[in-house]
Symmetry: D2
Subunit: 137 residues, 4 copies
């Protein structure tokens, strides 16, 4: 996947790169981008299921999580004059959205492969946000 490599490369070409641990930061940006995609896709796949009535909370929470992942990924990508408080607030809110969405998707993992995969993606993003939050201090 050349895509994310390029995002990293563009970030590395920044005149004043972020002082945050590079691996933790890149991992979090990558996971936010992935989780935004899997949540959008899982909400959409759930819309097409015959048991949609069982999936309403899953759809709603995936929409929330997708929105928060987009915002957080963008905020983390910016390296010019970052504000640690804003970064921390964003990754903490994103970790919460991922945790709640992942919990709900997990409940449907046995019946819906898209929920199983989305739960995995939410967990990875939650962990990446938690790790970055700890690094921000």
């Amino acid at each position: 996947m050349p895509g994310t490599v390029t995002v990293r490369e563009v970030m590395e070409a920044h005149r004043t790169p972020s002082p945050l641990d590079r691996d933790l930061l890149e991992r979090c940006i990558t996971e936010c981008s992935e989780c935004a995609g899997t949540c959008t896709s899982c909400a959409d796949a759930s819309l097409a299921e015959p048991d949609i009535l069982e999936l309403v909370r899953c759809i709603r929470l995936c929409l929330d999580c997708g929105d928060m992942c987009i915002a957080t990924g963008r905020i983390l990508t910016r390296q010019t004059t970052p504000d640690p408080g804003v970064l921390r607030a964003a990754v903490e809110a994103c970790a919460t959205a991922c945790r709640v969405s992942g919990d709900e998707c997990e409940r449907h993992a046995a019946h819906h492969e898209h929920c199983r995969l989305c739960a995995e993606s939410c967990r990875r993003c939650e962990e990446a946000c938690d790790a970055l939050a700890a690094a921000i201090g």
Copy 2:
């Protein structure tokens, strides 16, 4: 402005409206929408200023704040099976983004009317987020 009236009307047509205080919720959604717009506009207006080098941090923080306001406004607009933890995390992150962006815009308020107005908008959104966070408990 017929626009926001209609958003409120659509929300009132929801079969299971949010249990949150209606005025606090609507105010917060309105302020998130406004602040998303004023931050986008202030970042853009700052790009056109001759003293842009003084406004770099303002631009960056307004971009962050605009992104967080969009995500938070969408999450608050959804009333189906809301998760209080996700709502609280979002409004708290948004309040932080608004506070930091408002502080920076305030520093330029004497020289740039767009910063003065945007600082006001950030304050109103911050207060609306704080009030809603308190109501979520």
Copy 3:
């Protein structure tokens, strides 16, 4: 609604305001912001309806329209070195999304007040986009 008044005020404080007709531009930005909200709210209200299986296409199209309205509203709000081709492409895509979403909501207007209101909002946004596209030339 003080909100959008402030967005307009911030835009008016821009050093080099857009050469586009101010009323058409402001109307389009206002309608994009409203339609983004009503589509988010209508998709969400539809999720809570017992006849959700009849509303799946409505939900999907409202999600699409909400995303396009957000992007278009932001692009229109920026007045620094605008590119007419990008502005035109955005408002044309937005008009299409609004038309299709409005048509679908219209089909459910008799049974769901949120669809009736959202259809109205989509129409207004479609018209505002068409009018602005014509002005861009």
Copy 4:
């Protein structure tokens, strides 16, 4: 990059996958996601350059392109009851935004590595959008 693999996997778990050519669709979604990231990063890196006054148009167009890529990537990711007219309008608008942003970044490629990389990313996304638009017919 495990991320996009998972997005593809979630999309493949959809009960009624898109009738569009799978490779063209996945490529376009991947490129929209990447280009959204590179444009956010390039606009941010440009903010930190001493010759920022030369980069104002680049920043503005990258912000536009990033917004359009986010909206288009989300719309393309949804496979439930897609509307071909909306898909086509989105990818056409995205191709336009990528072309204009890529042209501007190209002008600064010799002096700024982030612009060179972002121009490449914009080109790839533009081509992916054009190819998908042709497939939609």
